[in-house]
Amino acid sequence: MSAATIDRATVEDHLFADAQLLDEWRLQEWLETLTQDVRYVIPATDMYEATPAHSHLAIASDDMRMLIGKVERLLSTRGHCEYPFSRTRRLITNVRIVSRRENEIDVAANFIVYRARRSGWYPYVGRYEFTFLVLPDDSLKTKHRAAILDHYDLAENGGVVSILL
């Protein structure tokens, strides 16, 4: 297989494994699934439609440097909002390969990420836009990950996106 022939089931398996790493807080392993030039984006809730430009305020617009910082923070005992760790459960559905290039594919999917804390359940609902680099051994590396929230705002949702989506 290659970017031209990789099938949806393979991509779905990858997304399920990715969700497992995040749900199990294996965040250092998760970092290894990203390319060095990765961009991780959560657009602002009032800029719902598109991936924001670098000159737009987003909820997250992270490069590898920032993601390393967030992962180290989340795994420390001093990331108060996530210590003790939230319990999370990611449901990934409606997976589609939307375009293919020489060694890359664009993938769309829908998600619900449930986050449970002592104070209650906090669901995050939205869709993903991914760009994956397809390596010669058919493994995938994430080059672009946008989690586009459907929430009108985050006021009723625990307010924060303290976990990785």
Binding site: L57, E72, S76, S162
Partner: protein
Amino acid sequence: MYVKETENVFWVRREAMVSDEIFAAERSAIWDKVWLYVGHESEVPNNNDFQTRDVGNRSVILVRDGEGKIHVHLNVCSHRGAEVCRQRSGNAAAFLCVYHAWTYRNDGRLSSIPGVDTFPPNYPKEKMGLARPPRVETYRGFVFLSFNPDVPPLAEWLGGACRYLDLVADQSAVPLQVLPGTHEYGMKANWKLLVENSADGYHGMPVHSTYFDHMKRIGDNVSLSTRYKASNAYDLGNGHAISVRVTPMSRAVARWSPSMPEELKPAIEARYAGLVERLGAEYADEVANTDFNLVIFPNLIVLNAMGVVLRTFTPTAPDRLRVTSWMLAPADLSEAESHSMIDQSLAFFGPGGMATPDDADILESVQRGLRSWREAPWSDISKGLTKDQPDSRDELQMRVFWRRYEQLMLAQEPQA
């Protein structure tokens, strides 16, 4: 009584954070008496641009009319009370109420009533325009309203805070603009806890050490204890207060630091040189190097550090608030400059930052703790109480807020 001072201890009454009665009393004693921030002129850059938002528990429309004049209308139809504009933002010459199709020009005048011929003769259509808050004034692009017709003029009310809004507005020869993209989040906490937190330098290291670790890792040692040049807190009058400091953090205007891309250094140095040329060396230094957390009573926070963050919030219950925040930046920043500025700001601020979520978590924890207000009725904000010049890690900022709160709340209570 909401505060008391006894033997060098400054106490705050915790019931004020949990009581439904006090929350209701605040509506008329605080929110209906003061100036409230609505938005920035740059949010309606073109004629007929509008924004809707909640201010002081009312739905309002901030709009620039066809001649370029800015208005704030109450978003309520004169006929039967529906909101006449139900979009978050847009561009419209008229607002059409969807209930009975009354139509208003964006300057507030009523332009048409379907079936007007069946209303009584001489129906006073010209008096049926959109209602307005009694006072709307602007300072350096910041638009405020007041529901109190007798409130002093805005600039007088802002008092000592004007100087710091000037430091923001003078950053650039071209106008500042609110960047596209809004942080809209919330906390299960009393609004006054966020006021206290927003200018509290004391909690920085205990709560935000993961952020400082990150900054150190990427090249900026922002250890608060060793790198401060000047770090003071000031009472600005009328309940406004500020904590001021000079830090080694980056700033697009205009302070390069090692955590920023090396290739931005010439542009940021040129920006500083531009400030010196336009403002003189002394004021340029102040504009570029004064970091501050400004509290404009009761609910506008201006955070001027890695960039300018405007934060306002609206309580919806004693233990609930909605927060809205924006970034404000010179309109002529290059894509690379604004990228770096936003990157640095997002590392700390916002619902996905490394700091704001922890603040929210702690404030919610405080709110849960305060359920014990009957047994443990007072909080302490005494740090620096007897100092001649408290610093930004003291608690003067909170005492200034609470003294003003006390004054306004007691002014409303019937005298015994």
